[in-house]
């Protein structure tokens, strides 16, 4: 399941809804991404996240399907917010559930690494020097690359 929304999400509620009615689930691994107040040494007051409606859902759906192909997962949820966000705000939620913890841990890490490089989002940060578009990070590419060619567990 994927959702792209402006509104905040309730982590506990999302976990409860995902695990409900699935007694085979033995492990739930959750990643919550927050907006930081420092980026590349600069103070960041807030940021606005722009996305490509339609393609975002399509790419997130493909990432979830790839995770399900690689690991024995019960249910997967990705929620990504857009719009104006302030430091401390929740921005992304990834939940992977499985019978056992290893698959859930690895799948959750995979989801986060891949969505950072494949989902069409662009950040515009507000700093004391004005606002600017954030450039892509080579470290995110490297994080996603480590999954290439990796066999399913």
């Amino acid at each position: 399941m994927i959702r792209v929304q402006r509104e905040d999400f309730d982590v506990g509620q999302e976990i409860a809804m995902l695990a409900a009615g699935r007694p085979s689930v033995g492990a739930v691994v959750t990643f919550v991404g927050l907006v930081r107040d420092i980026a590349d040494g600069r103070d960041v007051g807030a940021m606005t996240l722009e996305h490509y409606p339609g393609m975002t859902e399509r790419q997130l759906g493909a990432i979830v399907e790839e995770a399900k192909r690689r690991w024995p997962l019960d249910a997967v949820l990705v929620v990504h917010r857009y719009g104006r966000l302030e430091p401390g705000d929740r921005i992304v939620l990834c939940i992977a559930t499985s019978a056992h913890r290893q698959a859930a841990f690895e799948a959750c890490a995979f989801l986060v690494d891949w969505l950072k490089t494949k989902a069409p989002f662009w950040k515009r940060e507000e700093t004391p020097q004005g606002s600017r578009w954030v450039a892509a990070r080579a470290s995110d590419d490297a994080a996603a690359e480590r999954w290439h060619g990796k066999a399913p567990v």
Partner: protein
């Protein structure tokens, strides 16, 4: 053909989307970019450095040699934050 622009490409082109009718010899993303560069100074500036531009055809990432057709949705945008070399 529906074109869409995002982030700073949208700001440089001066619009979020437009509908265009390229000539028949425009058959790939690369040829479309060459044609668009002639459209306005804003287009030329936005599409000047292709290392900083990514493309999607019908909402899937596409390379310069990918085919484009009249009823396609073609989008141009910076590498996603933080980005991938595709």
């Amino acid at each position: 053909m529906k074109l869409m622009y995002f982030a700073w490409l949208r700001e440089r082109v001066g619009m979020a989307q437009e509908t265009v009718e390229p000539p028949p010899q425009v058959r790939t993303v690369g040829q479309l970019i060459d044609w668009l560069r002639q459209r306005s100074p804003g287009h030329a500036e936005a599409l000047a450095d292709l290392h900083a531009v990514r493309c999607a055809v019908n909402q899937d990432y596409a390379e310069l040699d990918a085919p484009v057709a009249a009823d396609d949705e073609v989008a141009f945008f910076p590498p996603v934050t933080g980005g991938r070399r595709r």
